[in-house]
């Protein structure tokens, strides 16, 4: 498939790491992606994107030239850089039905990663269960991630205010005991309007 954006290079049950195919168009933070593995689609939410040197022992160096200019003068530098992104697993597709919980096994390494279609985003965000999954994973920037993914789903829905309210309520309900956290997410999603 031509719209491929990366390849899985490390997996856990709850998250996977992929290397981006393209230095120029890495996936957005908070976007929905799909890893195809063993005939199953496993959905993830991108929570970390980073660009690094391909050699773990050699760090990139500062040249003091604008990036575009530098790549024009020394195009070989691009060959020493890579973009990687991490995605939290939020669901999978089981015989045509989207399940908003963890799949029985993670995608295999070297599976390809694709961006989710509009329909998939709509299906994944319909019952808002994914917010609960993200909230329970340790080490994620939960507030930012939830807000970014909901803003995206809101735009995919043609700015449907009802959806935004529903999402806000889900957050308020989920974070009932952490009012400040809920409040900051709600402020972030209401900014997206």
């Amino acid at each position: 498939m031509t719209d491929r954006i990366g390849e899985v290079i490390q997996v856990y049950t709850t998250r996977f790491l992929a290397q981006s195919d393209n230095l120029l168009n890495p996936p957005y933070f908070g976007s929905f992606v799909r890893a195809e593995s063993q005939g199953m689609s496993i959905y993830g939410l991108v929570f970390n994107v980073y660009e690094t040197s391909i050699d773990p022992n050699r760090r990139a160096m500062a040249f003091g030239i604008e990036r575009e200019e530098l790549l024009k003068q020394q195009p070989q530098i691009a060959e020493f850089l890579k973009v990687e992104f991490e995605a939290a697993v939020i669901g999978f597709n089981d015989a045509g039905r989207i399940r908003a919980y963890l799949p029985p096994f993670p995608p295999r390494i070297h599976s390809f990663v694709y961006p989710c279609s509009k329909q998939e985003v709509l299906d994944l965000t319909e019952d808002l269960e994914f917010i609960r999954s993200i909230n329970s994973l340790p080490g994620l920037p939960v507030e930012e991630l939830v807000a970014a993914s909901i803003r995206l789903a809101y735009r995919e829905r043609g700015s449907d205010r009802n959806f935004l309210v529903r999402a806000g309520q889900e957050i308020a309900q989920l974070l009932k005991d952490e009012y400040e956290k809920a409040r900051s997410i709600i402020r972030r999603i209401s900014d997206g309007r």
Binding site: G168, A172, K176, Y179, R183, I186, R187, S190
Partner: protein, 546 residues
């Protein structure tokens, strides 16, 4: 009205004693909810009819109160999760979900299960509770925010003393007129109305429009007789009163004067002097003899009765005010009480008016004298009827305005009105108390009141007095506090459960009760014939008696 239940919340906690609590649904605007509404809780097998007594703001989280959401979106999101509205409702009656033919609502003895739906009462629910209007249970209004009749069961109403309370401007007089009109129409009891302000006779001024509304005589024609102590009043320019009342001095008892002590300015010494005179000169004669005296005669009286001369002079100055009431005379042609009794036997209802003599003094004296004698007569007749095993006199409802003047805690135990209120219908006589100051009425009397109709009241003490002897006082108090003009809380014997109503429109009452506009013309014609006859016989001379 759409006869479909609208769910407004879910039951969450509470008890039968302190009332139930429900969470308001998020899709209902709290501003549309108002206290006093009837609501229905759908239990598993029963419907619980309840009164909405309070609405409160609640938060599940202290933090949200410290950092309140700032924009509308955040408010909307937190609504129903971190913030919610709590409805306090009081269960009153219960009825099976699928009632049989003869099932009637009965008092609630348990509570509905958790999370039962709380709905607005529908038209069907209200008519299940309050019945359908007919002659003996007429519609007197509709529950607030609903357009369904609330009917007053007059058969029950007649069996106890009742009261209509409300400050002036609350619509009390208009509602009283309606209740009386329906009572007269139903013929369940005979009414004697002491009409201090001339509102229940031919017409009464409508406070909002300033135009005269038809009153009982105009609406019900010859069923109502007007008695007056002031036959020459301009009130009777169009329609003659049926009877000019005169009261002889001999009919006035010392107890009557004691009741009006405040109005007459009597002192305790004065009252004792009166008793001395009555003992010496005879119960029936002392007053006329005393009033005929002047100051020159006092030394002899002081000598004779061994009383203080100053006290005597003061008493004379007090009692001389009676002379300013021309209907109180030495000699009278006719016995008013007998006349009233005759009308009552004939089933006519009496409106007793005071014309220009509507001072508290005239009112208290006349109402007390007449009622005392009527009460005696009723006791005799009822006892006689019991002994003979025949039907007693017709049940009588005496309507008194400014009831606290007769039922003050200090005097209620002695006055006839106090006796009637306490002995209830033993002697076929009950009271309808009209008052704007219920706190002035004796507690014992208040607790005997069967049905209370309560309008707007300002004073906390009045509100507490009105609730004397009622269950669920807390709930009712909230309801009374929220009343607007022309809204009334109905509670007591003649109603299955307390309800707040918007009083019925007076003009539709008129249409319903009125015998027809024909009688108005009849009465005007009658008056013309009477006047013509007067001129023919006496010429244009004014005839003045006495």
């Amino acid at each position: 009205m759409v006869d479909r239940q609208k769910r407004i919340g879910k039951l969450i906690s509470g008890s039968l004693l302190s009332g139930l609590e429900a969470k308001l649904s998020e899709d209902v605007n709290v501003e549309d909810i108002s206290v006093g509404r009837l609501v229905v809780v759908d239990g598993k097998e029963n419907k619980f009819f309840c009164l909405l007594k309070d609405v409160s703001l609640q938060a599940t989280n202290e933090d949200i109160l410290l950092n309140p959401p700032s924009d509308d979106f955040a408010k909307q999101v937190h609504a129903g999760i971190n913030t919610f509205y709590k409805l306090s409702i009081q269960p009153m009656l219960v009825m099976p979900q699928n009632p049989m033919e003869d099932d009637r609502p009965r008092p609630s003895t348990t509570v509905p299960p958790h999370f039962s739906n709380v709905c607005e009462a529908t038209e069907k629910d209200v008519s299940l509770i309050f019945g359908k209007p007919d002659k003996n249970s007429p519609e007197i209004g509709s529950p607030i925010f609903m357009d369904v009749p609330v009917c007053l069961n007059l058969e029950k109403f007649c069996k106890r003393s009742n009261a209509i309370f409300g400050k002036s401007g609350s619509g009390k007089s208009v509602l009283t007129r309606m209740v009386l009109g329906y009572l007269i129409k139903s013929d369940l009891a005979v009414n004697l109305i002491f009409d201090m302000h001339g509102e229940y006779g031919w017409s009464a001024t409508n406070e909002s429009t300033g135009i005269d509304d038809p009153s009982l005589r105009q609406l019900l024609g010859s069923k109502v007789a007007i008695f007056t102590v002031d036959g020459d009043s301009p009130l009777y320019r169009r329609v003659r009163p049926d009877y000019d009342v005169q009261i002889p001095y001999s009919a006035i008892e010392i107890a009557d004067l004691e009741l009006a002590a405040g109005e007459l300015g009597l002192t305790q010494a004065g009252i004792e002097t009166m008793y001395r005179m009555s003992d010496k000169w005879g119960e029936e004669k002392w007053l006329s003899r005393f009033l005929e005296m002047d100051t020159d005669d006092f030394p002899a009286v002081v000598e004779d009765l061994k009383v203080n001369e100053q006290a005597l002079g003061k008493l004379h100055r007090c009692l001389i005010r009676l002379k300013k009431l021309p209907f109180i005379r030495k000699e009278v042609a006719d016995d008013t009480v007998e006349r009233i009794m005759g009308e009552i036997q004939a089933g006519r209802h009496i409106v007793f008016q005071f014309g220009r003599y509507n001072s508290m003094l005239a009112y208290i004296l006349v109402a007390n004298i007449l009622t005392r004698r009527l009460h005696k007569l009723y006791i005799d007749k009822t006892d006689f009827a019991r002994a003979e095993g025949i039907e007693g006199p017709k049940p009588l409802i005496i309507t008194i305005e400014e009831a606290h003047k007769f039922l003050d805690p200090q005097v209620a135990r002695q006055t006839t009105f106090g006796t009637i209120a306490r002995e209830m219908r033993k002697y076929n006589m009950v009271l309808l108390l009209i008052d704007q100051r219920p706190s002035g009425i004796d507690d014992e009397v208040l607790s005997q009141v069967g049905t209370r109709i309560v309008g707007e009241l300002g004073d906390e003490r009045d509100i507490n007095a009105v609730l004397t002897g009622l269950p669920n006082q807390g709930t009712l108090k909230i309801l009374i506090n929220n009343l607007e003009p022309r809204q009334f809380l109905l509670t007591g014997f003649a109603l299955p459960m307390p309800v707040v109503i918007d009083a019925k429109n007076y003009s539709s009452f008129c249409d319903e009760v009125s015998i027809g506009s024909g009688i108005i013309l009849d009465a005007v014609k009658q008056k013309k014939v009477f006047d013509d006859l007067n001129t023919k016989v006496y010429g244009d001379d004014q005839i003045i008696f006495d």
